[in-house]
Symmetry: C2
Subunit: 642 residues, 2 copies
Amino acid sequence: MDGSKNIRVGDFKVTDSFWGRYQSLVRDVVIPYQYEILNDNVPGVEKSHAIENFKIAAGDTEGEFYGMVFQDSDVAKWIEAAAYSLIATPDKQLEKTVDDVIDIIDRAALKDGYLNTYFTVKEPEHRWQNLQECHELYCAGHMIEAAVAYYEATGKDKLLNVMKKMSDLICDTFGEGRKRGIPGHPEIELALMRLYHLTDNEKYRDMAKYFVDERGREPNFFKEEREKRGWEHFHMNPEDREYSQNHKPVREQDKAAGHAVRAVYLYTGMADVAGSTDDKELLKVCDTLFDNIANKQMYITGGIGSTHHGEAFTVDYDLPNDTIYAETCAAIGLIFFADKMLSYIPDGKYGDVMERALYNNVLAGMELDGKRFFYVNPLEVNPGISGVLGNYRHVLPQRPGWFGCACCPPNEARLLSSLGKYVYHIKNTTVYANLFISGEAVVRELGGMKIVSETGYPVSGDVKYTFTNVPGTEITFAVRIPEFSKDNYRIEIGSGENNDFKVKIDKGYYYITGNFREKMTVTVKLDVSPKKVYANTAVRYDEGCAAITRGPLVYCIEGVDNGELIQSLRIKRNGNITEKPYDESLLNGIVVLEAEGYKMEGSSSLYSYERPRAVPCTLKAVPYYTWGNRGLSQMRVWINEE
Amino acid sequence: MDGSKNIRVGDFKVTDSFWGRYQSLVRDVVIPYQYEILNDNVPGVEKSHAIENFKIAAGDTEGEFYGMVFQDSDVAKWIEAAAYSLIATPDKQLEKTVDDVIDIIDRAALKDGYLNTYFTVKEPEHRWQNLQECHELYCAGHMIEAAVAYYEATGKDKLLNVMKKMSDLICDTFGEGRKRGIPGHPEIELALMRLYHLTDNEKYRDMAKYFVDERGREPNFFKEEREKRGWEHFHMNPEDREYSQNHKPVREQDKAAGHAVRAVYLYTGMADVAGSTDDKELLKVCDTLFDNIANKQMYITGGIGSTHHGEAFTVDYDLPNDTIYAETCAAIGLIFFADKMLSYIPDGKYGDVMERALYNNVLAGMELDGKRFFYVNPLEVNPGISGVLGNYRHVLPQRPGWFGCACCPPNEARLLSSLGKYVYHIKNTTVYANLFISGEAVVRELGGMKIVSETGYPVSGDVKYTFTNVPGTEITFAVRIPEFSKDNYRIEIGSGENNDFKVKIDKGYYYITGNFREKMTVTVKLDVSPKKVYANTAVRYDEGCAAITRGPLVYCIEGVDNGELIQSLRIKRNGNITEKPYDESLLNGIVVLEAEGYKMEGSSSLYSYERPRAVPCTLKAVPYYTWGNRGLSQMRVWINEE
């Protein structure tokens, strides 16, 4: 099956003020800061040692490995983020820095291609013995992604060659007739698929397919390998098979289960294997899993993984707001998964989820100044409880700095710096517009046609596309109509000369087909007026509540705007929600929403026979992605109605 | 300070149909069953070994200690329950059985008085070295309570003498000028006070006072003892001082904190020490702690301890319904504490809490057939989640059988079999009526005056007291007017000849003073009509919800009566709640309540811009104490309003 392809990061120049700011932040703040962290140059922050580990493995210095068994992946994600950033903004000094790091990595790789500083430095005799716990394939996957990205960014192939050799070693080691194995933490699958798409070498695709298909088969591989080796790393229980999506063969899975990041990384690889091998059965499985997430296990913010016990999915409709996990990495993985599904099935539902996760959970994961990050993204926090007490201890009410386990910040960086590639997909003569971001795209597949997009999205719902260098033959431009606007939008093609174009609506896309004229415009007017959202009545945590949204943005109320005891605020059932004028000075520029509401004021006793009085008031709501940027206070997304 | 005294268990003969059934159940089912458990005669149930441990310590058999370090206390609580049961219903065979157990205990005691099978059998060299973790004083406390109860029941003093000797050893071991120490789990304090009240030997009171006052002092005793001994039992952290109420001197404590059972056992002992030593400062502390519980940290069911992390209190108004702990033992301890406060401060608030805990949390702790027990008493369960997932794993949706840690069932048994003593308190010429239970009381302090109480409480709100063998001098009868009826009740004294009596209302009691005539009656008519209750707006878990109550009973809705997705049911804001006729065939006899309500029916999608429709329906509510007796289904106390 031919899938659509993402536009290359380098072929979409972001000119967007909203996203441009984030990309600058990643370039100017996050990437340099992370580099200092990786080199242990930031006092008061937990030691990383990640670059030092590579130096030791390379023989450049002496010392002991330090950090998590997957410490290498931090370096990989940093290189990947830096690569994307270099595409957008060439920077000789950064490129030199990356080259130097790659030189160390090159020296750290062993003769046979093996690359992993933990095992090279610390336990060389244990290589490939503990795939459940020890992340060798996971680290390899991230470094493959970094290698592909850096090659695409710079044309330099040193790291690519290192990772091809490591991939060849993996291919020679695992599979039918070779060693049995599946990774405890999926990632290698989607990475090998990236390498396959770059190199067209089918052995990488076949290796990914093996890892996908072997998962969940009997006998339980993780138990088998543990019995063989007689040592442990994290004391993980191989019988907890769901945690690693190893509870049944993937083709029999129909509910998203286990560790949420592992799940969506796996599903991303699965979807790519399915599409690339024209495996309709497997693609249907991916679609079923996607629907299960989107329709039964996803927060309104696009967050997934509702419990910190195993950082995992639980059961359908179990979406607690205050004991949530909703890891930033999981929402990022959900974007990868949705994007990959979109490659093989052009359905707006994937783009809707991608957008939901991006504008809410993912953006909320980073402080507006780019210096602090959330792993857990709650929909309700209560200072004094959140981050402190038992079930809430992991739910921090303010973003902390760098962690010992630093998965989320670099993941955020690589997503934001590569955001351009999610804007368009291209298949044959069709361009799919998925995200609404101002920028200049060059569509190589259509003879270098340029598409300039201009929008104030998400503040405004208007997007204007201008096409130049058009191919002169019939093409199709397909615009995703977001679910929030599906009953109220307008498309203007050119200046009223629409009759030449065939248009149709199909699965969330508005298709415009015809001979595009030079400098022709397509204007999309989406309805981003404020709306209340209600959860399915099976979600018991949200009963009686509404959430406020505006376009793709979920809003929340914070104590800093609404005073004490924000749980006692109610949104008026048939009340108005008013948009305040765009305030560029507030939270880097937002539209504040004011909702008619009430504050419930009751007896001071704990229980009372008297109903609290509903005192009219105005609720002030701000976009969820901006929460926690103005000091410690309560926050909630779901608000009781009155 | 002279406190009021509870009427003796033997001086109140329960004739009540509601409570009589529970007492028969304890006598006929629970006590015999528990005895079989203690002797390991019940197949399929976790081994107790508790009696066997005593036999081994006594040298009767050979073997190893087995069970928890506090396994002895199970035997003590069983003896105490059996003692109360023997008072109500003499039973030669049961008495013989208890005597035989006591003979073993007597032989298990060492020459110097020391009694504890764990240390005697397993670690004799470690005696008194680990008060934080090892429950020696806790076990001693329970056995003292058993000894006092059995002496009061039978006049037999063998166990009493054993425990006097053990108490003497404790007094000789700990205190100023002797070894420093406080128990990790309070219980010895209240037990020594019971021994003091029985024997009038002030050294027991002084020892209790020492344990109370030493708690929370610097340096941290638990840290000190751990540094000395160099071994551990449970790996408890001595720095987690709040867990054992050891975070500051008790006189500086103003919020109930830490492990809830430990807390209320401590406060019970503290209150008795305070009252008995006329220590107004300490009594004020107890009152402050009581108010903190009752007004800020107690579930509507009387449950306390809102987290399973440390089975503990958390912070004010933090009362989650579905991740709750609310251990049965904690609610029982709260009754002890309230009852003890009532001895020194006649204020109806204590009786209100006692009643709330008794009729709701405590009764719900036992299956109606007396064979299965809850440790955790949730206000919301959801099958498939409760008892299964992460934060809900401890919240079982159905009562299990006997546990390895068997604290709650025998605690339930001893409370129910001694319930008579909580009905009246007597001080000088005043009789305080606290609980409304049909029975025949003999008031020794008033020349053997008899009070016959007749009531259908809690089904009916009418209570008729008939006084005979009256003393011929002025007495006072003080009836607690429960909070639920304080604005609507009637008291009828005699047959209209009320003018001879002085009456007054003070702190929740209706005082009737005068010369009571032979066969005079006092009739109390309380309003037990159904009422909705609202939680303080600071309790965020109950926002938007109401609970249904009737008299002292909290009601709940169950899936078995109300179908699927009971979270989508709403109680109509100004709707009626109707009482169905008393149904003696349902759940051992209850009044079903029917409330006008709605079922919310919405879109099948996870999130929708359309508000779910409110479809009128009738909610069927049953008393909370009967929940979970009809198979597995959802249950909730707090119901959203519409």
